[in-house]
Amino acid sequence: MFKRIVQPKWLGSVVAIFIVLLILPPFLPRFFVYVLALIYVTSLLAMSLNLLVGHGGMFQFHHAVFYGVGAYTVALILTKTSLPMWVGFVAGPMAATIVGLFIGWFCVRLTRLYFGMLQISLGSLIWAIVFRWYSFTGGDDGIHGIRMAPFLSSLNNSYYFILVILVISLIILYLVLKSPFGSTLQAIRDNPDRCAAVGINVRRHQLLAIVIATFFAGMAGVLFVVLERSVFPDLLFWVLSLEIFIMCLLGGWFTFAGPILGAAITVALRTFVGIYTEYWTLILGIILILLIFFLPEGVMGYFLEIFKPQAKEAAERRE
């Protein structure tokens, strides 16, 4: 009746997938390795957002800002100072968390919609400053040719590094969601007033969730720099924030791994459609409209709906 936390069944398949992904690079053309790595980076970003949106019910409308802050921090440290790379790698998520805490502190005082609007305004302010501060951040052009330690100089090594960091991050996020804090966060999502009546300091819990989420967004930003060796203001732009929001929605935001699916689909679509036509945004828009009309619960939600009767039967048979 009270189900166990980790089903041995699916743990096996997850480990198997991980091993497959780990050994893939030598067998794939460079381009595919690159696309996979990009999917990993985007997945981490989407997963970090979903902690707040899907599991926390918060209107985190400008999450890309923390991604961009993480990326720019490591970029600036590696190009303007001679500090070792690892310092940059640690500083990125920390900077994102500090900015997240700062913005979050103002936002959690507000109810949902206004939380989102204030965040958009603060995030846009940061974008505007980065966009215009040509001498420091490279402005419109961004920063390119960022150096990395020798062991990350090859694409395959970067791939391994990114994959490992992604998996560790996912494990941490999973533990967080299954922890008492995770249950409390989901309860806050479902009924914040009831939580307050039950003695929970809703704002403080939301702030802690923001700290975690923005940390991983900053981490994703660092991984982006590892992969691309450049940064640009688009990383902080509202369009990206909306895109990751849609990835979570697409994948199914009440599930754990939904955002990964959403990120994978979006990045794959953009890359492969982009090979054939420069109008891939048009195609993306059309697909989105088709999904709105035909698959409102998101792709993973749709699959869960299909497979739920069988899963329920299987569970009943087991009991």
């Binding site: 009270f2 479902d190 307050a196 009546a197 039950v198 003695g199």
Partner: protein
């Protein structure tokens, strides 16, 4: 233990509560009754902090709690159930109660141990005492209305409160469910040594389990007395018979 003195609360021009007084002693079972619109739920909302009073004092265990936010009032030892079912529909029944237990144990910030393994005994024992043990794994949103009202109560019990406030605990229940709930409340009062404050429309329940009854009418407290005195009081009879 709980004292409400001269509390007034208006919404624009409408005085929902206009001079309410209440005294609840430790270990007592106190009922608040009154016709619809008398201000009972508003009074409860004022006590537990969902609303802030315009005037008057609310004192719990010697401390003025009138200005505190709801979560701090709960942490001081007051828990409540709501008149309109206010549960966590997407969580399981177990999960619903566990939220309160985790909050009570100050473990809601705990990040790294699986929630399934924490506070299991306490949660199970609460479910058992309200009779929901066999429904622990069900999604709360799928329960019958009566069971959801009991879950309401169970969530409040999760806080190990000293004062349990129940807002119309049997509203919308069938007669069988009502009498079962009545027995449950009696048991809880005896077993856990709880102080209980509740409001009800069902006079059978009120007169069979309340040790002290406070009568409200148009936002005011008429009297607060032992049941026999209330039954015979003329003002009370007039309030109930004349009007609504």
């Amino acid at each position: 233990m709980l004292r409400v003195e001269g509390v007034v609360k208006s919404f624009e021009d409408f005085k929902a509560v206009n001079g309410a007084n209440l005294a609840v002693a430790r270990g007592e079972v106190v009922a608040v009754i009154g016709p619809n619109g008398a201000g009972k739920t508003t009074l409860f909302n004022l006590i537990t902090g969902q609303l802030k009073r315009d005037r008057g004092k609310i004192i719990f265990k010697g401390e003025d709690i009138s200005e505190l936010p709801p979560y701090q009032i709960c942490q001081r030892g007051i828990a409540r159930s709501f008149q309109i079912v206010n549960i966590f529909p997407r969580l399981t029944v177990f999960g619903n109660v566990q939220v309160a237990v985790l909050s009570q144990q100050r473990r809601s910030y705990n990040l790294f141990r699986p929630a399934q393994k924490i506070a299991v005994e306490e949660t199970k024992s609460i479910l058992q005492s309200v009779g929901l043990s066999d429904k622990g794994g069900n999604i709360a949103g799928s329960l019958s209305h009566g069971d959801q009202k009991i879950l309401e109560m169970a969530i409040a019990l999760g806080n190990q409160p000293e004062l349990l406030i129940l807002d119309e605990p049997t509203a919308g229940m069938s007669p069988e469910e009502t009498s079962a709930t009545m027995q449950l409340i009696k048991r809880l009062a005896r077993m856990r040594g709880l102080t209980i404050l509740f409001c009800e429309h069902d006079m059978d329940i009120v007169f069979s389990i309340a040790q002290s009854i406070m009568v409200m009418h148009q936002g005011r407290t008429l009297i607060q007395e032992k049941p026999e005195e209330v039954r015979g009081n003329e003002e009370v009879q007039e309030a109930y018979l004349g009007g609504e």
